[in-house]
């Protein structure tokens, strides 16, 4: 499927995939990525299921009116929208400013054989 065979070393004596994977710089890139996406995934899933469980088992809380006919359930539901938009922008900003430059630098070092 892939056109690039798995080489011990890359073109022009640069590192192959396995060497890149074993390098300290790649380990750092991977851990940065995971340290961002895993906790954030845990966070939004926990918040979503909290909402789902409240909707299923705490109907009275959800039906409690706040302003006029707007109740807790509607506000919590709309807050799910707000948190989704916020996490989206947070991740996009982080990926553009922190992750992409790190990955870019790694690719440069790789091409120059400096890994």
């Amino acid at each position: 499927m892939s056109t690039t065979p798995t080489r011990a070393t890359g073109p022009g004596g640069t590192a192959g995939y396995q060497q890149v994977q074993a390098s300290a710089e790649f380990a750092l890139l991977r851990s940065r990525f995971r340290r961002f996406v895993f906790p954030v995934t845990g966070l939004f899933l926990a918040w979503y299921f909290l909402y789902v469980l409240l909707a299923a088992y705490a109907r009275d809380v959800m039906a409690h009116p706040l302003v006029g006919n707007i109740n807790v359930g509607l506000v919590l539901g709309l807050l799910q929208f707000v948190s989704t938009f916020a996490i989206t922008m947070w991740y996009a900003r982080w990926a553009d400013r922190q992750f992409d430059p790190t990955a870019e630098k790694l690719r440069e070092h790789w091409e120059r054989g400096e890994l």
């Binding site: 499927m1 892939s2 690039t4 798995t6 192959g16 995939y17 396995q18 890149v20 994977q21 074993a22 790649f26 890139l29 991977r30 990525f33 996406v37 954030v40 995934t41 939004f44 899933l45 979503y48 299921f49 909402y51 789902v52 469980l53 909707a55 299923a56 088992y57 109907r59 959800m62 039906a63 302003v67 006029g68 006919n69 707007i70 109740n71 359930g73 509607l74 539901g77 799910q80 929208f81 989704t84 938009f85 996490i87 989206t88 922008m89 991740y91 996009a92 990926a95 553009d96 992409d100 990955a103 790694l106 690719r107 790789w110």
Partner: protein, 547 residues
């Protein structure tokens, strides 16, 4: 329902206007598809639109794909008839995008080529894993297709003034033939443009109606909710959760099961995943998802207003008595607000939605068959790209025909609900293997096969023996069961939940783990290194086609 077609003397709109507006949409999109097709040369053009769409274009196209008839007609209808519980569908559908954004989209774009199976089989044994992934792609796509075609059928009586089931069947067939044409001629490029145009029309149409409803309610959401609740037979219950799901303990578990399937399903939908290959890089894939989340989120906020607006201005009773039942809430609201012309526009948008989504599903299913099954499994990779595309086109025709037949058969089903089942199957069969293969070094072929077949099989078996298929609640008036098999004397269900997710999703994750640790196969360290390095750095990723 067919039986109600005559009862619903409540004729709305002018079929000529509806058909004319729809014909204009078809004419415009056909022109664009034919023009786009001029640059279709390679397999990358046919499957991935040359990978040349920008993140924004693809994000809007993703929204077009995702905001299917189920979202527009189904959710608006669910809110209009069950109140708050309908709103919860849209929350699950939206939050699910974060899974795709954070864990799947970019990594998939960097490692794959055309299909979901490209990623799943990257470092595992090609033959068996590709076959499994292709089977689950076809099953999920067919479930989804059925839901869309069912939506088309249910709306026909209402919108085109076609009486009886012959007229419905003819319309379903017309939708099917148009869709086949889009896919054959336009490939992914043409299909993407259809999605973009449709998404823009849908957002504009829904936005206009939202403003209209809000202005009728004095721009006050609280007033709108109050008026809607007053129009509902069960007073004020509609503003709190539980009307549809919360009455029994089993209903609550069913609701949690649905919520789980919705949030984990999106990132396992093959037709959504395939869209990430239409952009030139992972960065653009990220941008696509950001655009999609904004467009989809804003649209769901519109449906909240539209749903309660329909409850208030049309009333649940009239909606449920109309042909197409809950699915007709949005069109009826359009008629109530803006008369024949607005109904015509909204009706055309609804048909455009169905047409575009069905085209997207067909291209995904045909790509999976041609690229995964024919090219890699049957021909073991020794195949000319032109040959593969030819097979994909033939498959598209076959799938189009299956969709027409399935649509005629499923035309009275609730569509939001059918789509929810597709999500459950996708979350069970696909997502565990996608995540394991991207993030778990030890994962191997047996783990993938057990997880895919286990998730797919358990989801389907549980649906087959659920009240969805037989033994649903019997209607006091019609004496029909609310199941696929409406005869109340046929009842072979033993699984109490309508949505299988709460069992089949954890089971698929467990089987993926169990299969992996019990297999003696050593995972391919070289391929894993390549996959991990490529997925995170974008090195060696497929490039855009330059014309």
């Amino acid at each position: 329902m067919k039986a109600f077609a005559t009862v619903a003397a409540d004729k709305v709109g002018n079929p000529t206007v509806n058909i004319t507006i729809f014909a204009i949409f078809v004419a415009v999109t056909l022109t664009i598809v034919v023009r786009a097709a001029r640059t279709n040369r390679s397999a990358a053009d046919y499957y991935a639109g040359g990978r040349a769409f920008s993140g924004r274009q693809n994000g809007i196209a993703i929204s077009g794909d995702y905001l299917s008839a189920a979202s527009f007609l189904g959710i608006a209808g669910a809110i209009a008839t069950s109140g708050y519980d309908g709103f919860m569908y849209s929350i699950g559908f939206l939050v699910a995008w974060l899974v795709a954004l954070l864990l799947v989209a970019e990594l998939l774009r960097n490692t794959g080529k055309f299909t979901m199976a490209d990623v799943l089989s990257f470092r595992l044994r090609q033959g068996p894993v590709r076959t499994a992934a292709a089977i689950s792609t076809l099953v999920v796509s067919l479930f989804y297709l059925l839901a869309q075609m069912a939506g088309a059928g249910g709306l026909v009586n209402l919108l085109l003034g076609v009486e009886g089931s012959t007229g419905q069947n003819v319309t379903i067939a017309v939708v099917g033939i148009l869709m086949i044409f889009y896919v054959l001629v336009g490939g992914m490029k043409g299909t993407t443009w259809v999605q973009i145009i449709k998404a823009v029309l849908l957002i504009l149409g829904a936005g206009l109606m939202t403003l209209w409803v809000l202005s009728r309610a004095g721009l006050n959401l609280s007033n709108l909710l109050g008026d809607a609740a007053a129009a509902a037979p069960k007073k004020s219950d509609v503003l709190a959760p539980g009307l549809k799901y919360g009455l029994t303990d089993l209903g609550k578990i069913d609701f949690i099961s649905l919520a789980l399937a919705l949030v984990l399903g999106t990132a396992g939908l093959p037709h959504v995943l395939m869209r990430f290959y239409t952009v030139p890089s992972a960065k653009e894939a990220r941008r696509s998802v950001v655009w999609a989340i904004w467009v989809i989120g804003i649209f769901y906020l519109f449906t909240l207003v539209l749903g309660f607006g329909a409850m208030w201005l049309v009333g649940p009773k009239r909606i449920l008595a109309a042909p197409g039942k809950a699915n007709s809430a949005a069109p009826l609201l359009a008629y109530q607000l803006g008369g024949t012309l607005l109904l015509g526009i909204i009706a055309a948008v609804a048909f455009a939605t169905i047409l575009a989504v069905v085209a997207g599903l067909t291209i995904t299913a045909s790509a999976s068959f041609a690229h995964d099954v024919y090219s890699h499994v049957i021909k073991k990779g020794r195949v000319q790209p032109d040959d593969e595309v030819r097979i994909a086109r033939v498959t598209a025709v076959v799938i189009g025909l299956v969709a027409v037949i399935g649509g005629i058969w499923a035309k009275d089903q609730n569509i939001a609900f059918l789509v929810a089942l597709a999500f459950a199957v996708a979350a069970s069969a696909n997502l565990p293997t996608i995540l394991y293969s991207l993030f778990w070094r030890r994962f191997n072929t047996r783990g993938a096969l057990w997880s895919i077949y286990g998730g797919l099989g358990s989801a389907i078996i549980l649906i087959a023996f659920s009240p969805v298929v037989s033994g649903g609640k019997v209607d006091a008036v019609t004496h029909k069961a609310a199941s696929l098999i409406t005869d109340p004397t046929v009842d072979f269900h033993w699984f109490g939940l309508e949505n299988p997710g709460i069992v089949s999703i954890p089971l698929a994750f467990f089987l993926g783990w169990l299969g992996t640790v019990t297999s003696r196969e050593v995972s391919d360290a070289g391929r894993f290194a390549e996959m991990e390095v490529r997925s995170l750095t974008g090195a060696g990723a497929e490039k855009a086609v330059l014309h």
